[in-house]
């Protein structure tokens, strides 16, 4: 792949990388016919982000001759690529053009900055080949949809301290509210509770199918909100009941960004004591377990992010509806090696190894029936 960005596009690209760095430690560069996707997943597989830049975003966008038959996806360490785009202000001032080449003869990702005064900065970064990890999210199946200017969400979120890990979003026909979330609420005296509510009229779009309270990781979302604000793009939120993932997305003509976060199954911590004690925090790193490892490596071949045209999630709808019954402790106890957090993880990406489909319903499912040529080659090897 060989692409060129100019002017403000370089800054936007850098901003996207900043946002992705809030999610995971690795960045996956996925050049596709419909554009360049940058993806990141957190280590617990409870947060996923994807920025898709259409070919129009670039001054030049060429996929190499081998792109059709063999997908080249590069996994880079975030700490390798983030420093290149660290100071966005300086990039805005100095960088005239940025060229990114993948599959150069020396197996590196080559990122070149052509700066003012004729100065050229060339970075050859090592990468690992990898299958892209894509989350599939059936946003068209979500009962609740909100759309608001980024500014509105930014203003709401600003009331929470930077260290606030998780927040709860509640929706009723009369209001939408955000409040901070603390697990185990033992220390009532030392916590400041913040809650704010908005009237549905504040939103550009408000659709409520089911009243719900969802708790998710705020930290991982801040990157997208910051990106949306800098581009003045409205943010769409698709969600359902607690336990199902929430999807935040922005898009304009030339780029789309999505963040999918898992939500706590019992957001009020009033569920079974087991869950309350070990209530998974989205940002936690989950301990290694066989199930967990599989979950990470057995990446489902993916559908597109906005799956409405693909159709296959419908076949799994019954699985989604089964979810409430699976919150009972016995199911978790059976999974001797998995913690509730890893269960949450498995819910997000179906591990191909667990073909039997036992116990764990899949919320975000892969489509094994997809025929399109793109998805075919993105299938992970069977384990």
């Amino acid at each position: 792949m060989d692409c060129v960005l100019e002017g403000n596009a370089v800054k936007a690209f850098g901003k996207a990388i900043h946002s992705l760095s809030r999610i995971g430690d690795e960045l996956c560069l996925d050049p596709m016919n419909k554009g360049l996707a940058l993806r990141s997943v957190n280590s617990a597989h409870s947060a996923y982000a994807c920025f898709l830049f259409s070919p129009m975003f670039f001054t030049k966008y060429c996929l190499g001759p081998d792109q059709g038959s063999e997908k080249v996806q590069c996994k880079l360490l975030m700490k390798s690529i983030l420093p290149l785009f660290r100071c966005l202000a300086s990039i805005g001032r100095n960088v005239e053009q940025c060229q990114i080449q993948v599959n150069t003869p020396n197996d590196r990702v080559k990122i070149q900055f052509f700066c003012r005064h004729g100065i050229t900065k060339t970075h050859n970064l090592c990468y690992q080949d990898s299958e892209a990890l894509q989350a599939v999210f059936a946003s068209h199946l979500c009962p609740n949809v909100l759309k608001a200017p980024a500014r509105l969400l930014g203003d709401m979120v600003m009331h929470f301290p930077v260290y606030q890990e998780e927040i709860t979003l509640s929706i009723t026909p009369l209001r939408v509210s955000l409040r901070n979330y603390f697990e185990g609420a033992n220390d009532h005296m030392n916590i400041m509770y913040t809650e704010m509510s908005l009237h549905p009229d504040e939103f550009d779009y408000f659709l409520i199918g089911v009243e719900s309270d969802i708790t998710f990781c705020l930290k991982e979302l801040r990157g997208l909100l910051s990106f949306a604000e800098s581009h003045c793009l409205p943010v769409s939120i698709h969600f359902g009941a607690a336990g199902k993932p929430v999807c935040f997305s922005v898009d304009d003509m030339i780029l789309e960004a999505t963040v999918v976060l898992s939500t706590l199954v019992n957001s009020e911590s009033r569920g079974p004591s087991q869950l309350a004690e070990t209530a998974p925090r989205c940002a936690d790193v989950v301990s290694e377990s066989p199930g967990e490892a599989d979950c990470r490596t057995a990446v489902p071949a993916a559908m597109e992010m906005i799956a409405s045209s693909q159709g296959s999630p419908i076949t799994h709808l019954p699985a989604l509806l089964l979810l409430p019954t699976c919150t009972e402790p016995p199911h978790y106890q059976e999974e001797a090696h998995t913690t509730p957090a890893s269960t949450l993880c498995s819910l997000l990406f179906r591990a191909l190894s667990s073909e039997t489909g036992e116990g764990l319903p899949v919320l975000v499912c892969c489509s094994e029936e997809e025929e399109s040529e793109e998805e075919d080659v993105m299938r992970s090897p069977t384990l």
Partner: protein, 279 residues
């Protein structure tokens, strides 16, 4: 001013007296070479030269000409001593280095000669502090034998363009490689770190390039740990000259303008890295 009310008699004992209305004109430039505790001071009628060395591979010199000082009296051809530079800087900043306009620390630096301490009289807002810093026998600075006749390549760049490059340098790289050539890439800084390599290229016709005189293609590597301190001098400077000689020794010369617009120089000499591993 209290500093000038010293008796005439006392003054005659000093072999070196140097006064500055603004002590920061000295302390700022000394900060640019403070990577080791000890500094060798060498005063001549031309001015003050302060030298700091690291393991015989790196040497930094700061030159403050006599005309920078409000008073510069020297009774011998050369006066030399060694002091703890960190202590000296602490003393120069003893009033806290406030930047309130109109308020500054005045300095009178006096030295009686071999065996005597370096005496500093510092005054700010009517308060006088006297500091006496022990001196040591000055070591002989290493002579890098860097002479202009041996220089193979020389460029002068505006510091602004290099400052950004140096602040972005991949610190996981053990070396900084400098390539200078009459042909492409002309002037290149390269690093080889954990994530991969990086190259910063400055073409000879860049408007940041004030002078470009390269006679032959040379690539040399220098230990990053040795060159890192030079970024302080780079930060203060407005222009930098980069020269290499036939042995690959590096000379970096920085033009520093102090708060009063006067010019001082800082230079760094560095040996090339001996264990050169091929890429």
């Amino acid at each position: 001013m209290p500093l000038s009310t010293q008796s005439q008699g006392e003054d005659e004992q000093y072999v070196l007296v140097a006064s500055l209305d603004h002590a920061r004109n000295l302390s700022n430039i000394l900060k640019a070479i403070t990577f080791k505790d000890h500094a060798i001071f060498n005063a001549t009628p031309n001015g003050l030269k302060v030298t700091v060395e690291d393991s015989k591979c790196l040497q930094a010199n700061a030159f403050i000409q006599s005309k920078i000082f409000q008073e510069f009296t020297i009774k011998e051809d050369m006066v030399g001593f060694q002091v703890n530079l960190t202590v000296l800087l602490d003393c120069l900043n003893i009033f806290g280095g406030s930047t309130t306009p109109g308020v500054s620390t005045a300095l009178r630096m006096c030295y009686k000669g071999y065996g005597y301490p370096l005496t500093l009289f510092l005054e700010e807002g009517g308060v006088v502090t006297v500091c006496k810093i022990n001196t040591q026998e000055p070591e002989e600075p290493v002579d890098f034998e860097f002479c202009s006749t041996n220089v193979t390549n020389k460029v002068i760049l505006q510091s602004e363009s290099l400052k950004e490059a140096f602040s972005e340098l991949d610190m996981t790289s053990e070396v900084l490689q400098i390539t200078m050539s009459p042909s492409q890439p002309y002037f290149r800084l390269s690093t080889f770190g954990n994530s991969g390599n990086a190259h910063y290229d400055y073409p000879k016709d860049s408007d940041m390039m004030e002078l470009f005189k390269c006679t032959k293609t040379q690539t040399n590597r220098y230990k990053m740990s040795l060159l890192k301190p030079s970024t302080k001098a780079l930060a203060l400077s407005c222009k930098v000259s980069v020269r290499t000689d036939s042995r690959g020794f590096l000379s970096l010369q920085y033009l520093v303008r102090n708060d009063d617009g006067q010019i001082c120089f800082v230079e760094y000499y560095c040996c090339p890295d001996e264990d050169v591993a091929e890429d």
